[in-house]
């Protein structure tokens, strides 16, 4: 034993340093947020508030930062499938790609118009209950300066590397369900997914223009 230990001393030393450094490194902490629902929501809310809403970056940069955050925190393909619902099976691969792209753009530009409205609101995490087979529903309050609160719930699912957001429920109104019912109405009116994609694409153009005009 002693022989082995002395022979491999540099290696063991390296191992100890490695283990110690793992314990202190911030990446070890980030492992926690990616698995703990409340910490996950807090993590992304903190980034959103401090790095986007409160920053003095130009708007175009903020929009791109927000897109990165959105793509990282949300499972967009899963949301897209839920939103298209029964029609998802009828869509071809290239239609899906187009739809998901415009859907992402639509949400990014819808929210980027609101960056200027941020006025010191804070997020307070309330409850965390199991949801589905491998998910959680985190409920939070948004509190503004006047002390008024409204409730936002986050539906999360455990994915391969990290949790992902699959729905945001604002005062009881699920964004995923609302888009799903709106789009199924458009698909019926336009007689197919291509019509929906067309309307989404012109909406994105419109939103981009107004986003550029305001601020």
């Amino acid at each position: 034993m002693i022989y082995i230990a002395t022979k491999n001393r540099p290696l063991i030393l390296l191992l100890i340093i490695l283990i110690l450094s793992l314990g202190c490194r911030p990446s070890a902490a980030s492992e926690d947020w990616s698995r703990d629902p409340k910490a996950f929501v807090q993590h992304f809310a903190d980034i959103g508030i401090s790095q986007i809403l409160e920053s003095d970056n130009p708007k175009t940069e903020k929009t791109e930062q927000f897109r990165q955050l959105f793509v990282e925190a949300f499972d967009i393909p899963a949301i897209g499938r839920f939103v298209l619902g029964r029609y998802w099976r009828q869509t071809k691969e290239d239609q899906r790609t187009l739809f998901l792209g415009f859907f992402e753009d639509m949400i990014v530009y819808t929210w980027s118009r609101r960056f200027g409205q941020y006025d010191g609101q804070t997020l307070r995490l309330e409850t965390n209950v199991p949801d589905g087979k491998n998910g959680a529903l985190v409920t939070s309050s948004i509190i503004d300066k006047a002390g008024e609160t409204f409730t936002i719930s986050w539906r999360l699912r455990q994915r391969y590397q990290s949790l992902k957001i699959v729905d945001v429920i604002i005062e009881g109104v699920s964004m995923a369900i609302t888009y799903r019912q709106e789009y199924s109405s458009v698909i019926r009116r336009e007689n197919g997914i291509d019509g929906l994609i067309d309307e989404l694409s012109s909406q994105v153009t419109r939103l981009k223009e107004t986003a550029a005009a305001t601020n």
Partner: protein, 330 residues
């Protein structure tokens, strides 16, 4: 599908009946005279309210005009047959009267543009604290409706909170202008007879869209009528032979106050949607569901699921195989 049949057959019966009625006179009176102002223009023949204690209110006038229009124009549409997945989506939306509702929605949006929005903008001349006080007075004045429905739903604690709020806000809060009770830890909540019917297990009924009143359901039409005729203090005010235009003015302020309070939310919803009607319909039905659940989150089982026994939000890509990094061995 039973309710569809009933709607369709009653459409026909009513159209027959109305051939013999002086329809133009009725609609003219309701639409331009009685409807909003409540001024007596002589017509009471078709009224469902006859007792002195069930006087019509601006809300019931609107609802009567709306239901008449519904029977005249609103016949049920059939689910589209060309797309195999459309009938299920059609059923999920619960809107068999969609063509009629959409025309009422157009009318409502028109009224909103030419009448309600300009009024709200004018109303905003009043400073925000004063507007807040008016909102609070309206909330306080309608709390008997909440109280009656708390009791009808067997919600003892919530009924107690409503009573305490009514007493505290009417006195300390100076006729309800200040919501003092909230600061005492007695939060506001909203109940109506539509929610009571839901708690009693009554079905939602078809989705409806009425001008001025906005999105509704069949159940909510019954609920609004009952509340507005019985538990609503403005109805009691009408029983006491007060001038009807008092109620009309109050109703007008209530519409403007509600529209003003929802201004930003509706504006955002409108800008972010490509089919605003469908968005409003979905948001309204979800909001009602939340109110019926008294704010509890929607259980996952209630979410529309398109594959059996599958999570509606399951990942569309299977997780990549786990690759174990063996750094130490290297």
């Amino acid at each position: 599908m039973a309710h569809l049949y009933i709607i369709e057959s009653s459409c026909m019966v009513f159209q027959q009946m109305l051939c013999y009625a002086d329809w133009n006179n009725i609609t003219a009176n309701y639409a331009y005279g009685d409807l909003i102002t409540g001024f007596d223009s002589g017509y009471y023949g078709g009224s469902v309210m006859c007792s002195h204690y069930l006087e019509e209110t601006p809300i019931t006038r609107l609802l009567i005009a709306f239901i008449m229009a519904l029977f005249l124009l609103g016949c049920a549409s059939k689910p589209p047959a060309d797309n195999p997945d459309a009938p299920a989506a059609w059923a999920e939306e619960n809107d068999p009267l969609e063509p009629f509702n959409r025309s009422m929605y157009q009318l409502d949006q028109g009224l909103d543009t030419v009448l309600v929005r300009p009024l709200v903008i004018t109303y905003r001349v009043i400073p925000k604290p004063a507007r807040r006080a008016i909102s609070n007075v309206i909330r306080n004045a309608r709390s008997p409706i909440t109280l009656a429905n708390d009791i009808l739903q067997g919600e003892g604690t919530r009924a107690g909170i409503t009573v305490a709020r009514l007493i505290i806000n009417s006195t300390l809060g100076i006729a309800g202008m200040f919501d003092v009770a909230s600061e005492f830890g007695l939060p506001y909540h909203y109940e109506d007879f539509g929610q009571t019917l839901a708690a009693w297990g009554v079905n939602e009924g078809p989705f409806l869209y009425a001008p001025i009143l906005g999105p509704l359901s069949g159940r909510d039409v019954v609920g609004l009528t009952v509340d507005s005729l019985t538990f609503d203090p403005t109805a009691w005010y009408g029983w006491a032979d007060n001038p009807r235009w008092h109620q009309a003015v109050y109703f007008g302020v209530m519409v403007i106050d509600t529209r003003g309070n929802n201004w930003d939310a509706l504006e955002e919803l409108r800008k972010s949607s490509i089919d605003y009607y469908a968005t409003l319909r979905s948001a309204y039905r979800q909001t009602r569901d939340k109110e019926i659940r008294n704010g509890a989150p929607q259980p996952i089982e209630d979410l529309p699921i398109f594959e059996e026994n599958e999570d509606p939000f399951s990942s569309i890509k299977p997780a990549p195989p786990v690759t174990v990094t063996t750094a130490i061995n290297e």
